[in-house]
């Protein structure tokens, strides 16, 4: 199958973020970057599908400045065959604008499946995937935690609050990948060497206007420091007293 995976470069979330002097971005100094977690699962899912059901091709696409080539190379070293950078000075805040550019690239690609992460871990929007599907007129299963593809059809599980849906659709289709799907493999040394020779095309991103703009970024208010009530079962009585008299939740 021909599978496209849209991947985003994001900073490591374990960082203690600081806000840049502009007030509209995080300070990039010292940040480490990787593929967004769910995008990594999406690459893995695509590779496994093609390994099991081959022959096929996995194409990875990332929109952004030249630094995104790092993440594209990583996906190539995991096993993707080909990469495309949709070049832009910066990644827009507006998901619709990102979706337009990705849809323009994907439109005539002849893909059987187009994968996205359920959400990018930095923007946390979960909008780009279903928007692209809508623009391409394709069926779209969002936030799937298991996926089965056979004879031109897909079946997926979507977890809801306290329930789940099993959905069925025909290919070509868009799927956004959630928890439950396989974690990204580590590139092997051989994979890293091979990736250097794999094609990485660069094209200008066709971004439209943006009508969602970033005004400000700030750190959330810190919670007031709490206290350790005590150690072991002996501290329970004091905890329950505090929950009753101070926090008034009992």
């Amino acid at each position: 199958m021909k599978i496209a995976v849209c991947i985003k470069r994001v900073p490591d979330m374990e960082t203690r973020f600081r806000i840049a002097a502009s007030g509209t971005a995080v300070d990039e100094a010292g940040l480490k970057y990787d593929l967004s977690d769910f995008d990594g699962y999406a690459v893995e899912t695509a590779l496994q599908l093609n390994e099991k059901q081959g022959p096929g091709e996995t194409v990875v696409i990332s929109l952004g400045p030249d630094v995104v080539q790092e993440q594209l190379r990583k996906a190539l070293s995991m096993g993707a065959e080909r990469a495309v950078q949709l070049k832009a000075d910066r990644v827009p805040t507006d998901g619709l604008s990102i979706a337009r550019a990705l849809a323009a690239e994907l439109k005539d690609g002849g893909y059987d499946l187009i994968f996205f992460g359920r959400q990018a871990v930095d923007s946390a929007n979960a909008t780009v995937g279903p928007m692209v599907a809508e623009m391409l007129g394709l069926p779209c299963a969002t936030a799937v935690s298991s996926l089965d593809i056979s004879s031109g059809r897909g079946t997926a599980r979507r977890d809801l609050e306290g329930a789940a849906e099993i959905v069925d659709f025909a290919l070509p289709a868009v799927v956004t990948i959630d928890e439950g799907m396989p974690r990204a493999r580590y590139p092997s040394l051989k994979g890293i060497m091979a990736a250097k020779k794999k094609p990485l095309e660069v094209r200008a991103a066709q971004l439209g206007d943006e009508s969602l703009t970033l005004e400000k970024m700030e750190l959330p208010p810190e919670r007031a420091a709490g206290r350790i009530v005590g150690e072991g079962p002996g501290a329970v009585a004091e905890l329950v007293r505090l929950l009753h008299t101070e926090a008034k939740v009992l």
Binding site: A124, P139, A163, I166, L212, L219, G230, A235, A237
Partner: protein
């Protein structure tokens, strides 16, 4: 003065709490704009119209009822087409969906069909001149972004629980709306609904959440967590990803960045380290209690009260003490 659209989510013939939240948020926005109307869309199998009056209680002036046998299960394509057509025809200033699993699936499709931008998972929204300004937690909840939507209509999804529903009694008029496309023609079909959790309180509704992590050591030990929840009487059980990954609890119990985002009055974290992705889902709880054997565990940094110790040993004592406190009243 502009009218505001709200999508009122239902499942299995019952309104979900988030339906009242979106209607209530739309009411506040309409009032702030000088008193436009709130139009709430309610879709489902025939009979769903009987729920319309409940939406009036939270400030809907008009309930747009879409009844069709093909909407008994979620039919996201039919809902997106119908909502888009109505939003376009209605000239609304804003359309508010929930950032629930269904809303997150639906709203981006509507935005794309209308060709307008949207803001996702917002914790607040307000009018600022011609624009709508929202707050949106990003970077695993470590950063709060203020975003401005200048397009019209502005589409937003509202984080469940971020904004309590407020009653504002209206005698809602009912308007019947036909599906904009044939629900039977959808390319994506829900074949089966798997309903879990039974009659127990949902994590999103519970005033108290007792949540277990890997420190519980086994699926069997979650019995101790359930006992504590039962002692509170108004509690639901949550879990970390470590726990849902190991299959000790269903995925739908997961709290955090990619699980449910909750803000109960009391959150009890049991044997949970406090990874940033977990904290992203519970840091807005009013009171947080943590029990962990490691006094350096990051969970203690967000907890109001902590006990250092073995959770397996402490839980039965805590359950008994909570029972006793509640019996006293």
């Amino acid at each position: 003065m502009a009218n505001t659209f709200a999508f009122a989510e239902s499942r299995g013939g019952a309104l979900r709490r988030v339906a009242f939240e979106t209607v209530s948020a739309a009411r506040a926005l309409a009032d702030a704009s000088g008193g436009g109307e709130v139009h709430a869309m309610l879709a489902g199998a025939p009979g769903v119209a009987s729920l319309a009056a409940e939406l009036g209680k939270y400030g809907a002036d008009v309930v747009l009822v879409v009844e069709h046998a093909g909407l008994a299960n979620t039919n996201v394509e039919a809902l997106a087409a119908t909502a888009s057509a109505r939003i376009k025809a209605g000239g609304y200033r804003a359309a508010i969906f929930s950032a629930s699993a269904q809303g997150r699936d639906l709203a981006p499709r509507v935005a794309a069909q209308l060709g307008v931008s949207m803001a996702a998972d917002v914790t607040s929204l307000e009018l600022a001149g011609d624009a709508i300004v929202v707050k949106h937690p990003a970077y695993a909840g470590k950063v709060i972004a203020t975003l401005k939507l200048t397009g019209s209509p502005a589409i937003v999804t509202l984080r469940p629980g971020a904004r309590a529903a407020v009653e504002a009694a209206k005698d809602a008029r009912i308007e019947t709306v036909q599906p904009a496309v044939d629900p039977a023609a959808s390319k994506l079909v829900v074949k089966e609904m798997v309903v879990g959790g039974g009659a127990k309180l949902d994590i999103g509704d519970a005033p108290v959440i007792v949540s277990g992590g890997r420190g519980l050591k086994s699926a069997e030990n979650f019995k101790l967590v359930e006992d504590l929840a039962a002692a509170f009487g108004n509690a639901a059980v949550g879990a970390t990803r470590a726990v849902t990954d190991d299959g000790w609890r269903p995925h739908s119990d997961q709290i955090g960045q990619t699980g449910r985002q909750v803000s109960p009055e009391l959150y009890v974290a049991l044997g949970i380290s406090g990874a940033i992705q977990h904290i992203a889902g519970m840091r807005n709880s009013r009171t947080i209690v943590a029990i962990n054997k490691d006094k350096e565990a990051p969970i203690f940094k967000v907890a109001d009260y902590g006990i250092v110790g073995d959770v397996i040993e402490i839980l039965p004592v805590l359950t008994a003490a909570v029972k006793e406190a509640r019996a006293k009243g």
